[in-house]
Protein backbone atom coordinates (compact mmCIF):
# COMPACT_ATOMS: atom_id res chain seq x y z
CA UNK A 1 0.00 0.00 0.00
CA UNK A 2 2.83 2.40 0.79
CA UNK A 3 4.17 1.81 -2.72
CA UNK A 4 0.77 2.67 -4.20
CA UNK A 5 0.61 5.85 -2.10
CA UNK A 6 4.11 6.82 -3.22
CA UNK A 7 3.11 6.25 -6.86
CA UNK A 8 0.04 8.45 -6.22
CA UNK A 9 2.32 11.21 -4.89
CA UNK A 10 4.62 10.96 -7.92
CA UNK A 11 1.57 11.27 -10.20
CA UNK A 12 0.45 14.39 -8.32
CA UNK A 13 3.92 15.93 -8.66
CA UNK A 14 4.07 15.17 -12.38
CA UNK A 15 0.53 16.39 -12.96
CA UNK A 16 1.38 19.70 -11.29
CA UNK A 17 4.15 20.22 -13.88
CA UNK A 18 1.83 20.14 -16.91
CA UNK A 19 -1.02 22.38 -18.01
CA UNK A 20 -3.51 19.52 -18.39
CA UNK A 21 -5.42 18.79 -15.23
CA UNK A 22 -6.70 15.27 -15.60
CA UNK A 23 -4.76 11.99 -15.65
CA UNK A 24 -6.35 9.36 -17.86
CA UNK A 25 -3.70 6.64 -17.88
CA UNK A 26 -0.69 5.53 -15.86
CA UNK A 27 2.15 3.20 -16.83
CA UNK A 28 4.20 1.46 -14.15
CA UNK A 29 7.18 -0.88 -14.67
CA UNK A 30 7.61 -3.69 -12.17
CA UNK A 31 10.72 -5.87 -12.43
CA UNK A 32 10.31 -9.58 -11.86
CA UNK A 33 12.90 -9.40 -9.05
CA UNK A 34 11.67 -6.14 -7.55
CA UNK A 35 10.02 -8.04 -4.71
CA UNK A 36 6.70 -6.44 -5.60
CA UNK A 37 3.62 -8.61 -5.95
CA UNK A 38 1.89 -7.24 -9.05
CA UNK A 39 -1.67 -8.21 -8.16
CA UNK A 40 -1.38 -6.66 -4.68
CA UNK A 41 0.06 -3.50 -6.18
CA UNK A 42 -2.73 -3.37 -8.77
CA UNK A 43 -5.35 -3.78 -6.03
CA UNK A 44 -3.86 -0.97 -3.92
CA UNK A 45 -3.26 1.28 -6.92
CA UNK A 46 -6.88 0.91 -8.02
CA UNK A 47 -7.94 2.30 -4.64
CA UNK A 48 -5.38 5.13 -4.60
CA UNK A 49 -5.96 6.19 -8.23
CA UNK A 50 -9.74 6.14 -7.90
CA UNK A 51 -9.54 8.18 -4.71
CA UNK A 52 -7.15 10.85 -6.01
CA UNK A 53 -7.64 10.94 -9.78
CA UNK A 54 -10.94 9.25 -10.68
CA UNK A 55 -10.90 6.81 -13.60
CA UNK A 56 -7.36 6.04 -14.72
CA UNK A 57 -6.33 3.24 -17.07
CA UNK A 58 -3.50 1.35 -15.39
CA UNK A 59 -0.84 -0.48 -17.37
CA UNK A 60 1.70 -2.56 -15.49
CA UNK A 61 4.66 -3.68 -17.56
CA UNK A 62 6.84 -6.56 -16.32
CA UNK A 63 10.58 -6.13 -16.71
CA UNK A 64 12.45 -9.46 -17.01
CA UNK A 65 15.83 -10.18 -15.43
CA UNK A 66 18.95 -10.98 -17.46
CA UNK A 67 21.19 -13.90 -16.61
CA UNK A 68 24.63 -14.78 -17.91
CA UNK A 69 25.63 -18.43 -17.69
CA UNK A 70 29.00 -18.83 -16.01
CA UNK A 71 29.67 -22.13 -17.76
CA UNK A 72 28.97 -21.37 -21.40
CA UNK A 73 28.50 -17.61 -21.48
CA UNK A 74 24.99 -17.62 -22.96
CA UNK A 75 22.86 -14.63 -21.99
CA UNK A 76 19.13 -15.12 -21.50
CA UNK A 77 16.06 -13.56 -19.96
CA UNK A 78 14.75 -15.00 -16.72
CA UNK A 79 11.35 -14.66 -15.12
CA UNK A 80 11.95 -16.59 -11.93
CA UNK A 81 14.55 -18.48 -9.92
CA UNK A 82 16.26 -20.93 -10.19
CA UNK A 83 18.13 -19.70 -13.23
CA UNK A 84 19.03 -22.68 -15.34
CA UNK A 85 20.96 -22.06 -18.54
CA UNK A 86 18.87 -23.04 -21.61
CA UNK A 87 22.04 -24.25 -23.41
CA UNK A 88 24.02 -26.25 -20.87
CA UNK A 89 21.60 -26.47 -17.92
CA UNK A 90 24.14 -25.09 -15.46
CA UNK A 91 22.67 -22.90 -12.72
CA UNK A 92 23.61 -19.44 -13.93
CA UNK A 93 25.15 -16.73 -11.80
CA UNK A 94 25.37 -13.08 -12.69
CA UNK A 95 21.68 -12.19 -12.79
CA UNK A 96 21.04 -8.51 -13.39
CA UNK A 97 18.06 -6.28 -14.08
CA UNK A 98 14.47 -7.04 -13.22
CA UNK A 99 14.77 -4.86 -10.11
CA UNK A 100 12.84 -1.84 -11.41
CA UNK A 101 9.84 -0.28 -9.79
CA UNK A 102 9.14 2.91 -11.64
CA UNK A 103 6.45 5.22 -12.89
CA UNK A 104 7.02 5.08 -16.61
CA UNK A 105 4.45 7.50 -18.05
CA UNK A 106 1.20 9.38 -17.49
CA UNK A 107 -1.45 10.26 -20.02
CA UNK A 108 -3.15 13.57 -19.37
CA UNK A 109 -5.85 15.67 -20.99
Amino acid sequence: MSLALEIGSICEQELAKVSESRMTALGVVVGVFSGVEVESLRFCLDVVLKDRFGDVALEIEREPGLAACLSCGVRFEVQRAPFECPECEAVAHGVSGGQSLQVSYLEVE
Binding site: Y105, V108, E109
Partner: protein
Protein backbone atom coordinates in the same frame (compact mmCIF):
# COMPACT_ATOMS: atom_id res chain seq x y z
CA UNK B 1 -9.65 16.64 -26.10
CA UNK B 2 -6.92 14.12 -26.97
CA UNK B 3 -4.78 12.62 -24.28
CA UNK B 4 -1.14 13.54 -24.13
CA UNK B 5 1.58 11.22 -22.97
CA UNK B 6 4.09 12.45 -20.39
CA UNK B 7 7.26 10.39 -19.91
CA UNK B 8 8.13 10.18 -16.25
CA UNK B 9 10.57 7.27 -15.74
CA UNK B 10 10.86 7.95 -12.04
CA UNK B 11 11.78 5.28 -9.49
CA UNK B 12 8.92 4.80 -7.06
CA UNK B 13 11.26 4.42 -4.12
CA UNK B 14 13.60 7.26 -5.10
CA UNK B 15 12.67 9.27 -1.99
CA UNK B 16 13.41 6.27 0.25
CA UNK B 17 16.56 5.39 -1.70
CA UNK B 18 17.90 8.91 -1.32
CA UNK B 19 17.42 8.85 2.46
CA UNK B 20 18.96 5.36 2.58
CA UNK B 21 22.00 6.67 0.72
CA UNK B 22 22.34 9.48 3.28
CA UNK B 23 22.25 6.90 6.09
CA UNK B 24 24.86 4.80 4.27
CA UNK B 25 27.16 7.78 3.79
CA UNK B 26 26.84 8.74 7.46
CA UNK B 27 27.50 5.20 8.74
CA UNK B 28 30.39 4.67 6.33
CA UNK B 29 32.02 7.94 7.36
CA UNK B 30 31.85 6.83 11.00
CA UNK B 31 33.19 3.34 10.21
CA UNK B 32 29.98 1.63 11.34
CA UNK B 33 29.02 -1.73 9.87
CA UNK B 34 25.27 -2.34 9.66
CA UNK B 35 22.97 -5.28 9.05
CA UNK B 36 19.29 -5.33 8.12
CA UNK B 37 17.72 -8.51 9.55
CA UNK B 38 14.79 -9.82 7.52
CA UNK B 39 12.57 -12.87 8.14
CA UNK B 40 9.01 -14.06 8.63
CA UNK B 41 7.45 -13.36 12.02
CA UNK B 42 8.62 -15.86 14.62
CA UNK B 43 11.78 -17.01 12.85
CA UNK B 44 13.91 -16.05 15.81
CA UNK B 45 15.41 -12.65 14.88
CA UNK B 46 15.22 -11.28 18.42
CA UNK B 47 16.54 -14.44 20.09
CA UNK B 48 19.45 -14.71 17.65
CA UNK B 49 20.15 -11.05 18.28
CA UNK B 50 20.13 -11.55 22.07
CA UNK B 51 22.71 -14.33 21.75
CA UNK B 52 24.77 -12.30 19.28
CA UNK B 53 24.79 -9.22 21.52
CA UNK B 54 25.90 -11.29 24.52
CA UNK B 55 28.73 -12.81 22.51
CA UNK B 56 30.00 -9.61 20.92
CA UNK B 57 29.28 -6.79 23.35
CA UNK B 58 32.55 -7.12 25.31
CA UNK B 59 34.70 -6.63 22.23
CA UNK B 60 32.45 -4.52 19.97
CA UNK B 61 30.13 -1.55 20.45
CA UNK B 62 26.61 -2.36 19.26
CA UNK B 63 23.29 -0.60 18.90
CA UNK B 64 19.93 -1.87 17.67
CA UNK B 65 16.96 -0.36 15.87
CA UNK B 66 14.03 -2.76 16.33
CA UNK B 67 10.89 -2.52 14.23
CA UNK B 68 7.50 -4.01 15.03
CA UNK B 69 3.98 -3.31 13.84
CA UNK B 70 2.85 -2.86 17.42
CA UNK B 71 4.42 -3.07 20.90
CA UNK B 72 7.98 -2.35 21.94
CA UNK B 73 8.43 -5.88 23.29
CA UNK B 74 11.44 -6.79 21.18
CA UNK B 75 13.19 -3.54 22.03
CA UNK B 76 12.53 -4.08 25.76
CA UNK B 77 13.93 -7.62 25.56
CA UNK B 78 17.06 -6.40 23.77
CA UNK B 79 17.65 -3.50 26.18
CA UNK B 80 18.16 -6.00 29.00
CA UNK B 81 21.36 -7.04 27.25
CA UNK B 82 22.93 -3.69 27.94
CA UNK B 83 23.11 -2.07 24.50
CA UNK B 84 21.34 1.04 23.17
CA UNK B 85 18.04 0.08 21.50
CA UNK B 86 15.60 2.28 19.63
CA UNK B 87 12.11 0.92 18.95
CA UNK B 88 10.10 1.75 15.85
CA UNK B 89 6.39 0.99 16.00
CA UNK B 90 5.17 1.11 12.43
CA UNK B 91 1.49 1.22 13.45
CA UNK B 92 0.37 -1.14 10.71
CA UNK B 93 3.27 -0.73 8.29
CA UNK B 94 4.68 -4.11 7.24
CA UNK B 95 8.27 -2.94 6.78
CA UNK B 96 10.73 -0.30 7.97
CA UNK B 97 11.62 2.60 5.69
CA UNK B 98 14.68 4.82 5.57
CA UNK B 99 12.85 7.79 7.09
CA UNK B 100 11.98 5.86 10.25
CA UNK B 101 15.57 4.64 10.56
CA UNK B 102 16.91 8.18 10.08
CA UNK B 103 14.78 9.40 12.98
CA UNK B 104 15.86 6.50 15.22
CA UNK B 105 19.53 7.08 14.47
CA UNK B 106 19.29 10.62 15.80
CA UNK B 107 18.79 9.11 19.27
CA UNK B 108 21.85 6.84 19.01
CA UNK B 109 25.41 7.95 19.75
CA UNK B 110 27.04 7.03 16.45
CA UNK B 111 30.49 8.19 17.48
CA UNK B 112 30.76 5.16 19.75
CA UNK B 113 29.66 2.37 17.49
CA UNK B 114 31.03 -0.60 15.53
CA UNK B 115 27.82 -2.40 14.59
CA UNK B 116 24.28 -1.18 13.97
CA UNK B 117 21.66 -3.90 13.77
CA UNK B 118 18.31 -3.07 12.21
CA UNK B 119 15.72 -5.69 13.14
CA UNK B 120 13.07 -5.32 10.46
CA UNK B 121 9.36 -6.05 10.84
CA UNK B 122 8.66 -9.78 10.49
CA UNK B 123 7.76 -10.12 6.80
CA UNK B 124 9.63 -11.63 3.85
CA UNK B 125 8.04 -9.47 1.14
CA UNK B 126 8.10 -5.70 1.61
CA UNK B 127 11.26 -5.30 3.74
CA UNK B 128 13.34 -6.60 0.84
CA UNK B 129 12.27 -3.63 -1.34
CA UNK B 130 13.15 -0.85 1.10
CA UNK B 131 16.83 0.04 1.31
CA UNK B 132 17.66 1.24 4.83
CA UNK B 133 21.25 2.25 4.11
CA UNK B 134 22.62 -0.97 5.60
CA UNK B 135 25.94 -2.58 4.69
CA UNK B 136 24.33 -6.00 4.19
CA UNK B 137 21.00 -7.76 4.54
CA UNK B 138 20.81 -10.96 6.57
CA UNK B 139 17.82 -13.22 6.03
CA UNK B 140 16.65 -15.73 8.65
CA UNK B 141 14.64 -18.86 8.06
CA UNK B 142 13.52 -21.26 10.77
CA UNK B 143 13.29 -25.00 10.19
CA UNK B 144 9.55 -24.96 10.94
CA UNK B 145 8.86 -22.82 7.86
CA UNK B 146 9.19 -25.25 4.98
CA UNK B 147 12.15 -25.88 2.71
CA UNK B 148 10.72 -23.91 -0.20
CA UNK B 149 10.71 -20.49 1.53
CA UNK B 150 13.60 -19.25 -0.67
CA UNK B 151 11.65 -20.22 -3.80
CA UNK B 152 8.44 -18.57 -2.58
CA UNK B 153 10.11 -15.32 -1.49
CA UNK B 154 13.17 -15.09 -3.76
CA UNK B 155 13.75 -11.32 -3.46
CA UNK B 156 14.56 -11.49 0.26
CA UNK B 157 17.04 -14.32 -0.31
CA UNK B 158 18.53 -12.83 -3.47
CA UNK B 159 19.32 -9.52 -1.83
CA UNK B 160 20.78 -10.99 1.34
CA UNK B 161 24.49 -11.64 1.87
CA UNK B 162 23.91 -14.26 4.56
CA UNK B 163 21.22 -16.76 5.52
CA UNK B 164 20.88 -17.90 9.11
CA UNK B 165 18.92 -21.13 9.40
CA UNK B 166 17.43 -21.07 12.91
CA UNK B 167 15.92 -23.54 15.40
CA UNK B 168 17.90 -26.49 13.97
CA UNK B 169 17.49 -28.28 17.33
CA UNK B 170 13.89 -28.97 16.25
CA UNK B 171 14.86 -30.86 13.08
CA UNK B 172 14.52 -34.35 14.70
CA UNK B 173 10.82 -33.57 15.32
CA UNK B 174 10.11 -32.32 11.80
CA UNK B 175 10.00 -33.49 8.24
CA UNK B 176 12.48 -30.85 7.21
CA UNK B 177 15.57 -31.39 5.13
CA UNK B 178 18.19 -28.73 5.82
CA UNK B 179 20.02 -29.86 2.67
CA UNK B 180 16.97 -29.20 0.49
CA UNK B 181 16.36 -25.81 2.12
CA UNK B 182 19.99 -24.81 1.58
CA UNK B 183 19.93 -26.08 -1.99
CA UNK B 184 16.81 -23.97 -2.64
CA UNK B 185 18.46 -20.91 -1.11
CA UNK B 186 21.56 -21.42 -3.26
CA UNK B 187 19.48 -21.81 -6.41
CA UNK B 188 18.10 -18.31 -5.78
CA UNK B 189 21.38 -16.82 -4.60
CA UNK B 190 24.54 -18.87 -5.20
CA UNK B 191 26.69 -16.38 -3.26
CA UNK B 192 24.73 -16.66 -0.01
CA UNK B 193 26.81 -17.37 3.11
CA UNK B 194 24.79 -19.91 5.10
CA UNK B 195 24.83 -20.65 8.84
CA UNK B 196 22.88 -23.48 10.49
CA UNK B 197 22.16 -22.46 14.06
CA UNK B 198 20.13 -23.04 17.17
CA UNK B 199 19.85 -20.15 19.58
CA UNK B 200 18.49 -22.68 22.11
CA UNK B 201 21.45 -25.11 22.12
CA UNK B 202 24.02 -22.66 20.79
CA UNK B 203 24.96 -24.84 17.80
CA UNK B 204 26.43 -22.84 14.93
CA UNK B 205 26.33 -19.50 16.74
CA UNK B 206 30.12 -19.21 17.03
CA UNK B 207 30.50 -19.52 13.29
CA UNK B 208 27.85 -16.83 12.64
CA UNK B 209 29.26 -14.47 15.24
CA UNK B 210 32.86 -14.92 14.10
CA UNK B 211 31.83 -14.24 10.52
CA UNK B 212 29.96 -11.11 11.59
CA UNK B 213 32.87 -9.92 13.74
CA UNK B 214 35.20 -10.43 10.76
CA UNK B 215 32.93 -8.33 8.51
CA UNK B 216 32.93 -5.56 11.13
CA UNK B 217 36.72 -5.74 11.44
CA UNK B 218 37.10 -5.70 7.65
CA UNK B 219 34.83 -2.68 7.46
CA UNK B 220 36.81 -0.84 10.13
CA UNK B 221 40.07 -1.47 8.30
CA UNK B 222 38.69 -0.18 5.01
CA UNK B 223 37.38 3.12 6.39
Amino acid sequence: MSAERVDVKKKVLSANDQLAEEIRTDLTRRGIFSINMISSPGSGKTTLLERTIDALKDRLRLAVVAGDVQTRNDAERLKRHGVPVEAIETGGGCHLNAEQVTRSLEAIDRDQLDLLVIENVGNLVCPSSFDLGESIKVVLMSVTEGEDKPLKYPAAFRRASALVLTKTDLIPHLQFSADTAIENARSVNPDLRIFSTSSFTGVGLDEWQDWLAERIEENRRST
